[in-house]
């Protein structure tokens, strides 16, 4: 097996996921939140692909592909929402979009 060992990949995946999660948690701009979400998904994808190679099993790669498809559609919806919010001249701040408070 060429290249670094699987654990390196997993560590990188964990780092990406953690960075993304932190971004989602602390940033208030919905655009950045979406971006961080993408980073989280990519971290997950990296883990899937790495383990797929580790176990010599193609299933992980297929999973990664479907995650990408889902991520693409999710970004479409998310960006659509951001544009819609902007058009209505509302603040681009996730903390102020809290209409669902009980």
């Amino acid at each position: 097996m060429l290249g670094p060992g699987t654990s390196w990949y997993l560590a990188l995946a964990g780092f990406l996921f953690g960075t993304g999660a932190l971004g989602v948690l602390i940033r208030r701009n919905p655009l950045i939140v979406l971006l961080s979400l993408e980073i989280m998904l990519n971290g997950g994808n990296l883990a899937l692909v790495a383990l797929s190679r580790h176990w010599r099993n193609g299933a992980g790669q297929i999973f990664a592909l479907s995650v990408m498809a889902v991520a693409a559609s999710e970004v479409c919806v998310g960006l659509g929402l951001v544009v819609a919010i902007h058009r209505r001249r509302l603040a681009l701040d996730v903390d102020r979009l809290s209409e669902l408070r009980g």
Partner: protein
């Protein structure tokens, strides 16, 4: 043969459905004629079935199955019709007299706001009754039984703006539902033993049952029969049912409904013969009813109620006949009674119609001079009811009374009550006659009588009355028990008269003589008291009160059933509902609201809190997995 039966059954149903669907898109007249035509077609079908059955050798009849109607486990019931002597006889009576009554309704209901609804109900009623008599197994019979209850409810309460009509309709429905329930229970016993409700199977099954079970089955059937036929103790609905339009009273009391009980006993006679005690109880109930109803009829002042009580009394005779085992005599009286009772109701209807709805006989005094045709038709009906030869009642009533003579000491009691009943019939019928018809017209009559274009009524009303007057005269001639017995022979394959209930010719002659004498004495008493006024009614206030309150039956049921139930309901409202349940409801609601309010704090609306909780949760789950592993 079966084609006629299907036609007979389907036509009134089609009429009812058609009138309902056409609704206001056709004039009222069309709805009325549609209904009449549908019943006339049914009568044609009945004639077809009758003549083809007559040409069959032995005329045993047959059962035709159209499809399997109901299948549950190993129980199955078909959509079957039975064409046999008993059912064709009933088909002819129901559709024939029914046709005349629907025709009569055209004149009587003219101008009513809801004529179409009325005629749809009438067709439905005739269909229900035909379903009852033609049903080829007990389940279909019960279907017809229930439908008759429903349509009578609809028709009695037809004038739904009158509270009394609505109350009467409910009363009739509840009493009938009681009978339906006892019948259903009897059927459950039969199903449990034979998985079938076919007539033949049920009749053979009963012989394998224990005496108790057989008695229970017969008792259940008797409950249904007594409720439908207004026999004591389930009789109180019938006089109240007079709240419906007069043709409805004629239909309920003459051709359909109340005769269903007699038909049921004749149809299921093998069951009753296996439970002879119950059959004799039926006869006893009939004997009691005929006396009680005859007594109550003596003091009624509403023309329709007098006739209603006379119906109860005559059905009592039929029950007595069918109960002792003289099914043919009972069915024969059912037929002649259909003629003369429909005649009496419809003649009374002509009077009521001409007087603009007045039903009190004391107001009608002397109407005979202005309405001669009605007067004579009513007289024919009255003579047939009392059983004076050669009118039809004479031929049928006397054989019933004679048939009780050979069955032990209670037979003698039945015989005596039958004769006393004949005396009472003479008195109350001619009390009505002498009060209403002869003499100078009263001021009320002169003021309120509205003739229809100078005639006593529209032709649609007078023609049926005329036809029935002829039938009430000659209808009884087809059987005179000592000499010729066409009806008994005809019914023999379906309901053979028990040997014990076959009187000798001497008994017939003696009974006839005594009964006719009793009837004539009754007429003479009525004449002396109400026409000549030479005799005074003895003043016994207690007795008069008893009769005017109909032996306190309504009051008794009120005290026995209504008061305890409403008392319990009131107590529950006051002490349970208001004290416990009412406060509990708001408490429960408030608690739920509080809990919801507390829980809703979790929903902050902040995306980041949600993500935080999610991440923390996932982290905890991950940690648990790591540690437990």
């Amino acid at each position: 043969m079966t084609g006629g039966a299907w036609l007979c059954l389907a036509s009134p149903l089609a009429g009812a459905v058609l009138i309902t669907l056409l609704g206001t898109s056709v004039p009222r007249r069309v709805a009325a004629w549609l209904s009449t035509a549908s019943v006339a077609v049914a009568f044609a079908g009945a004639l077809w079935a009758f003549f083809s059955l007559r040409s069959q050798s032995g005329h045993h009849g047959e059962i035709t199955t159209a499809w399997t109607w109901l299948q549950a486990g190993n129980f199955s019931a078909g959509m079957q019709l039975l064409v046999d002597p008993l059912s064709t006889m009933m088909m002819l009576i129901v559709s024939g007299v029914g046709m005349l009554i629907v025709l009569y309704s055209i004149g009587y209901m003219d101008g009513d706001d809801e004529e179409r609804r009325y005629f749809a109900y009438m067709s439905l009623f005739v269909f229900s009754m035909l379903m009852l008599v033609e049903g080829g197994n007990l389940l279909l019979l019960l279907v017809g039984w229930g439908l008759v209850g429903l349509s009578s409810y609809l028709l009695i309460g037809f004038w739904h703006e009158r509270p009394s009509a609505v109350a009467a309709a409910k009363k009739a429905f509840i009493m009938n539902a009681f009978g339906d329930a006892t019948m259903a229970l009897a059927f459950f016993i039969l199903i449990a033993h034979s998985h079938s409700l076919a007539f033949g199977t049920s009749f053979t099954t009963v012989t394998h049952l224990s005496p108790t079970a057989a008695n229970l089955v017969a008792l259940g059937l008797l409950g249904g029969a007594a409720a439908k036929s207004a026999q004591i103790p389930l009789h109180t609905w019938l006089p109240d049912a007079m709240e419906g339009p007069t043709p409805v009273s004629a239909l309920i009391h003459a051709a359909t409904m109340v005769t269903a009980g007699v038909y049921l006993i004749a149809r299921t006679h093998p069951i009753f013969e296996h439970a002879r005690t119950i059959e004799l109880i039926a006869a006893g109930a009939g004997a009691l009813t005929l006396l009680v109803a005859g007594l109550i009829a003596l003091v009624q002042t509403d023309i329709k109620r007098v006739i209603a009580y006379s119906t109860m009394s005559q059905i009592g005779y039929m029950f007595m006949g069918a109960g002792v085992g003289a099914y043919a005599s009972g069915m024969f009286h059912l037929m002649t009674h259909a003629f003369f009772k429909a005649l009496l109701f419809m003649a009374a209807g002509v009077l009521i119609h001409a007087l603009g709805g007045e039903q009190d006989i004391r107001q009608m005094r002397g109407i005979g001079r202005l309405m001669p045709l009605t007067k004579w038709c009513f007289l024919v009906g009255a003579l047939a009811l009392v059983g004076i030869p050669p009118f039809s009642g004479f031929f049928s009533k006397d054989s019933i009374i004679a048939s009780t003579l050979n069955i032990g000491w209670y037979g003698k009691v039945f015989w005596a009550s039958g004769v006393v009943g004949a005396l009472l019939t003479g008195i109350y019928t001619f009390r009505l006659w002498f009060i209403v018809f002869p003499g100078e017209p009263s001021p009320f009559v002169r003021e309120h009588l509205h003739k229809h274009h100078g005639k006593e009524g529209p032709w649609t009303m007078l023609v049926p009355v005329g036809i029935l007057a002829v039938l009430a005269t000659v209808g009884g001639w087809i059987q005179w028990a000592p000499r010729w017995h066409y009806v008994t022979t005809w019914l023999e394959p379906a309901a053979r008269t028990l040997a014990a209930a076959e009187p000798t010719n001497t008994q017939e002659y003696v009974t006839s003589a005594v009964t006719v004498a009793a009837g004539l004495i009754g007429i003479a008493i009525a004449w002396a008291v109400y026409s000549e006024e030479t005799l005074r009614v003895p003043a016994v206030p207690a007795l008069r009160n008893l009769l005017e309150h109909k032996f306190y039956a309504d009051e008794l049921y009120d005290a026995l059933f209504y008061r305890p139930a409403s008392g319990l309901a009131n107590w529950l409202t006051r002490d349970l509902e208001e004290q416990v349940i009412l406060p509990t409801g708001p408490d429960l609601g408030q608690t739920a609201l509080d809990a919801g309010g507390a829980a809703s704090r979790v929903q902050t609306g902040l995306l980041r809190t949600y993500v935080f909780f999610l991440a923390t949760g996932a982290a905890i789950v991950g940690l648990v997995f790591l540690l437990v592993k």
